[in-house]
């Protein structure tokens, strides 16, 4: 008696698979649909990673050209979007420029722990209490985006994928080729870094 082979691989549901299969079966004229679907998202991701409009445009174009070239190798074992961001992240990393605003450095937990007793908070500040829609305005979002730009790249990549693009820890780990634990450590430090920048902004307002 033969026992059917069991596979542990979960079947992935993905709204993009139908389009990818069509392109891979020879309908190359449908490639622009893929561009339309992801152009806006990739532009924002690339802009946050490159911090420069011209570099972001180059990265998006290069990402789509790489996707066109390698799409036939896509194995449907992950969501297409995750594979796409892996291509995009690696394109942006190759494009990186040294920046005095976001020098590559390790963020240590110690730098986010109050060293002086006077700095230990004794109440929740208003900016963390008021309704989000009352707090949000263009100036604050500009400050937040500026603060994101100043994060060292390896932390910026993680927080952009997790908190802005909405990928899970495991998806982010797969996109960046890191362990889940590493993603969690980087994310926590990136959030603490941004929290301190926001705190500074609200205290000096």
């Amino acid at each position: 008696m033969t026992v059917p082979r069991r596979t542990n691989r979960k079947k992935i549901k993905d709204k993009d698979f139908e389009l990818i299969r069509a392109i891979n079966s020879g309908q190359f004229d449908r490639f622009p649909e893929l561009v339309k679907r992801y152009e806006q998202k990739l532009y924002n991701f690339s802009f946050r990673m490159c911090r420069d409009a011209a570099d972001a445009e180059d990265s998006v174009q290069e990402t789509f050209l790489n996707v066109f070239k390698y799409l036939k190798d896509f194995r449907y074992e992950t969501k297409f979007k995750n594979w796409l961001y892996r291509v995009a992240a690696s394109t942006c990393i190759k494009k990186r420029r040294k920046s005095k605003f976001a020098p590559e450095r390790e963020l240590s937990l110690d730098e986010f722990i109050p060293q002086d007793k006077a700095e230990v908070p004794d109440h929740v500040p208003e900016w963390a209490l008021m309704p989000l829609d009352k707090l949000l305005n263009d100036e604050l979002l500009d400050k937040l985006n500026e603060a994101i730009f100043t994060l060292p790249e390896k932390y910026r990549l993680v927080i952009v994928l997790r908190d802005i693009e909405g990928f899970s820890t495991t998806e982010t780990a797969q996109i960046l080729n890191l362990s889940d634990a590493n993603v969690k450590v980087r994310l926590h430090r990136a959030r603490l870094f941004l929290r301190d920048k926001l705190k500074g902004y609200f205290e000096n307002e």
Binding site: F28, E39, P114
Partner: protein, 88 residues
């Protein structure tokens, strides 16, 4: 616990896990430990609230619209691609 007592090792141990707590990635025992702790520890409660608000704000960070000229150029590049990807 007031701010003069806030140098406890326990606080530092939980401080490392606050993002995982916000993301529901901790086991039940550790979650309970954090919840019990922040009921009594004002500095840790403040830290958690400000961190949570930071995450909420990141989710609203907004989008830049793709410049029209670039979008047009990108479409032209795509239209001019060969009818099949290069063999590789």
């Amino acid at each position: 616990m007031n701010k003069d007592e806030h140098d406890h090792k326990h606080c530092l141990g939980l401080f490392e896990k606050l993002s995982e707590y916000l993301d529901n990635e901790l086991d039940e025992v550790t979650c309970q430990e954090i919840e019990n702790h922040i009921k009594e520890c004002v500095p840790c409660f403040v830290c958690l609230q400000t961190l949570k608000r930071t995450v909420d704000l990141c989710k609203q960070a907004g989008n830049r619209t793709v410049p029209k000229d670039f979008s047009k150029k990108l479409r032209e590049v795509i239209q001019n691609l060969p009818k099949s990807p290069p063999a590789g």
